[in-house]
Structures are given as structure tokens and as C-alpha cells.
Amino acid sequence: MKASRNALYGGLLLLPAAVLLWTFTYQPIVTTFIDSLYSTPRGRRPAAFIGFDQYETMFADPVFWKAMLNNFIYAFATIPLSMAMALAMALLVNSKLRGQAAVRMAYFTPTILPMVAVANIWLFFYAPDYGLVDRVLQLFGLGGQNFLGQPDTALAALIVITIWKEAGFFMIFYLAALQQISPTLMEAASLEGASFWQTLRRVTIPLLMPTTLFISVNAVIGAFRLVDHIVVMTKGAPDNATTLLLFYIYQVGFGYWDTGYAAALTMVLLVILAVIALVQFGYVDKRIHYR
């Protein structure tokens, strides 16, 4: 009786989400997989079944491997660094800092400025010789850097932009969580003679764990989907030094019009994201009491 009632109500409540998720996530995943087994139809040539040929092409494609490597560097740099910066900024703003409101506002500005808009501003910051960054470096006798035009600095330059963009946003969540920590807990810690670092490690960070999980999900999502600045600034150049997976998919799908190959690339990205989700929640969720 209860079971069938539950199934009815539960089913009805889930229906809108189920329909939308099916239409825009599961069904496209299935079609993408099927597409990846066919050659790309061209105006005059229909698609032909080719099995796993697209995947073979992909594993032999140096640009694909480059994009994978870049994306992992990008993820492993932007995720921890932007989260650490966010925590540091939240701690700073949470302390009784002079001009706290202004500082907080400053940290939050990247969230208000859309990436496509600031990308052009950063283009100026990174311009060799007269760009802002280079001018500062010139003071130390290190000028003349062409950050976006050299393969060894281009990706790092984009990582800096992403950290700038994300850290300010994540800071707000850490700040809110910090304010929830009861002051008595902190007083107790300092009465016991714990140093700032000890308190941070033993009390603050464990208490922030749920927030950290929340932020980390967003950070991972960002690391695989934030390619706006690549579209505007580098288009993957120089020599694919800044090509990330999603940008490559966009380029293959909407630049080369090779939908079959784009489908195979998409499948790889899908598997990566699904595995990350499972690991993150299969493993981490057990250890954090997510209230």
C-alpha cells in the first residue's frame, strides 16, 4: 500500500526532472555514443557505420593527447589553487581587517565581470612590453615576456586568469561558513595555547569540510567547462599549448564539422566526468558528515 503510494508520488515528483535530464543529458549521451560509431555525414556522403574507427583515430591524434594533458594540468592547478586562495581570502576578510567591506568587494569583482569581457582586458595585461604584467616585471629587470605567445607560459597565463576568476567566487562560501563557526570553539582552542596554524588545521579546516566539498564540485565542473577565455584569447594557440578538451570538442564539432569525431571526443570527456563524480561521492562522501 505505502510502497505503491510512494511509487506514485515519487514518480510524479520526479517526472519533470526525469524528462529534462533524459532529453538533455541521457538521450544525448546515448546518441553521442551511437554517432561516435559512424563516419561524419557530409553534404554529399551519408554516414557509414565504422565501428571504433573514430576512437582509433583519436588515440593516434596528438592534439587529443595534448588536450588531455593540458586539461589535467589545468585541473590540477586551478582546483587546489583557487580553493586555497579562496580560503586564504576568506580568512583574511574574516579577521578584523581595516577596510574589510572594501576588500571583500574587491575579492568578489571577478564574479561580476563575465569571462568573455575580462578576457580582452587580460589580453592587454599580458601584452609584451607595454602590458601591465610586463611593466611590473620590467621593474625587476624581467621584461619582454610574451606570455600568450610562448608555449611554456601560455597555459600558465590562462590558469592565472581562471584562479583569479574562481577564487573570488569561492571565497564567499568559505566566508559564510567561517562565520558559522562558534567563537567559543576558537576561544577554547586559543586558551589551550594552540597556534594559528594548529587551530586552522585541527579546528577550522575540518569544520569547513562540507563547504570544501561543495566548492570542489564547482571547481571540478569549472576545470572542464571553463573555456571562454580560450575562445576569446588564444583559440588553443600556440601549437595547441592551450587546447583543452571541451574547446577541442567545440572546434572539431563546430569548426571542422566533424560530428562523428566530436562525438568520440565527447564520450571520453563524459567518462572522465562520471568517474570523478563517482570517486568524489563514493569515497569522500563517506568521510564527510554532509549535513
Binding site: 510502497a3 503510494r5 510512494n6 508520488y9 515519487g10 515528483l13 520526479l14 519533470p16 526532472a17 524528462v19 532529453t23 538533455f24 541521457y26 544525448p28 553521442t32 554517432d35 586564504a88 581570502m89 579577521s95 581587517l97 577596510g99 576588500v103 574587491a106 568578489f108 561580476i112 565581470l113 563575465p114 568573455v116 569581457a117 575580462v118 580582452n120 582586458i121 592587454f124 564567499i172 566566508l175 559564510a176 561558513a177 558559522q180 586559543s190 594559528f196 562540507p210 563547504t211 564540485v217 572542464f224 567547462r225 573555456v227 571562454d228 575562445v231 571541451l246 570538442i249 564539432g253 563546430f254 565527447t266 570527456l269 563524459l270 566526468l273 562520471a274 563524480a277 563517482l278 554532509y290
Partner: protein, 274 residues
Amino acid sequence: MNADFRSHPVAALTTFAGWFLAVLWVSPLLYAVWTAFHPAAYGARFDLFMPLTLENFVRVWNAAPFARYFLNTFALVTVTLVCQFIVCTMAAYAFVCFPFRGSNVLFMLVLVQLMIMPEVLLVENYRTLSRIGLLDTIVGIAMPYLASAFGIFLFRQTFKSIPKELEEAARLEGANGLQVLVRVFVPIAKPTYIAYGLVTVSYHWNNFLWPLVVTNSVETRPITVGLQVFATIEQGVDWSLITAATLLSVAPLLVAFLLFQRQFVQSFMRAGIR
């Protein structure tokens, strides 16, 4: 820790660090303001005594419908936010209060695609949208995001943490399922809603690639796409115009944030997210 920071001998250092980062973080905005109010010829140099001008803003305002773009983005964010709240709340409520055979499997399916954002599937989603005739509409831009696995997951976690007794008490008072949801669950989950709402607003305020692909006309283009179409660099970057356009399009949000930042931050902090 507050006290700790203050009494600490490194308080001055803290203040310095805080301000140093603040200047770094706000520098793109400062540069935008500086450049937008100066003639184009000064776009790439710093001279304290160069003439001020409003001409960039006049040119930008006459050149492209930024007010319209702003309205489009506003509509897009509102539609997305409201629908996400409703759809994800319903789903989360079902997972928590009406478990049935197979609902755990369904939840696993939701979890698997927690990080698969619709833009990853943009080739396929474009086709779907074109089939149902929603290309180049604001609803069409929002559509793939309306059911969010992340939202369902978050709300479910929060709902699960709500003591059963509260729900039962409400039931004893004769509340039906909907009333329990609206009177008990949603108010307690308010912090989660605020946090998730902030994520959604920021996401769609900034979203670019997907709207770029699906919009064609001034009536639907959000700010991000409008700015990109405006800032096309076929003939080199004209920073004074681009910064003026950027400032014009973010001005409403910036001003609102400046005016209400105290209220915003405080209510957000009171709520806190767990």
C-alpha cells in the same frame, strides 16, 4: 580566531596581505574604469594627466543594444533559477520522502552525471533544441539547465538531514505532502537554496559557449555573447570601447552590489551553508 588575528603581532602583515590581494583582484576592473574614461589613443598607456572623456560610452551606447542584452540575461537567469528550484526541489523531495523500488538506482544515475554540464553535449543538445524549435529563444538557452543533478543532490542531502520528527509533527497537524515540503523542508533548507542560487546566478551570468551557439538575434543574446559579438577583433582590439561596453553591461549588477553588499553578505552569512 578573530581575536587571535588582532592581538597577533602580524596583524599589520595581515592587513597588508589582505589589501595586496584586494588590489590584485580588483585591478582588471580598475583598468576597465581607467581606460573607458580616456580617449582611444591612450588605450595602452598610463598618463595621469590625460584628458577624460565620456565619448567611449556614447559610442558604445549608440552602437549596440546593451540594455537589451542586460534584460535578456536578467530574464535568462530568472527563468533558470526559478525552474531549477522547483524541479530540483520536487525531485529531491521524492528521493527523501517517497523512496520506492529503484529510486536508489535512479539517484545513482543522477550522481553519475553530476559534473556533466549540458555544454559538454552541445553538439547533440543543439540538434535537440532545433528539433523542438527552441533555437534562438531565451527558454531554449535555459532548457538544458533546468534539471540540475547538482541541485537535486544538494537539496536531497539537506532534506535528509532534517529530523523525521519535524515532518511527523507537521503531518499530525494535518499537513499534506505539499504543505510539509513548503512549511518544513524549504524553510530549513534556505541556506542551501541561497548557496545554490548564487552558483546558478553566477553560472548563467557568465555562461558563454552554449548561448553563443544557440542565439542569433539581438532579442535573445545575453550580455556575454553581446560583448563578444561587439568586441570582435578583426581589426585589432580597441580597449577603450571594449572596457566601456563591459562597464555599461555590468553596471547595473555592480551598482546593485555596491548598494546592497552589506545586506547581501550579511544575509548570506547568517544563512551560511553546510
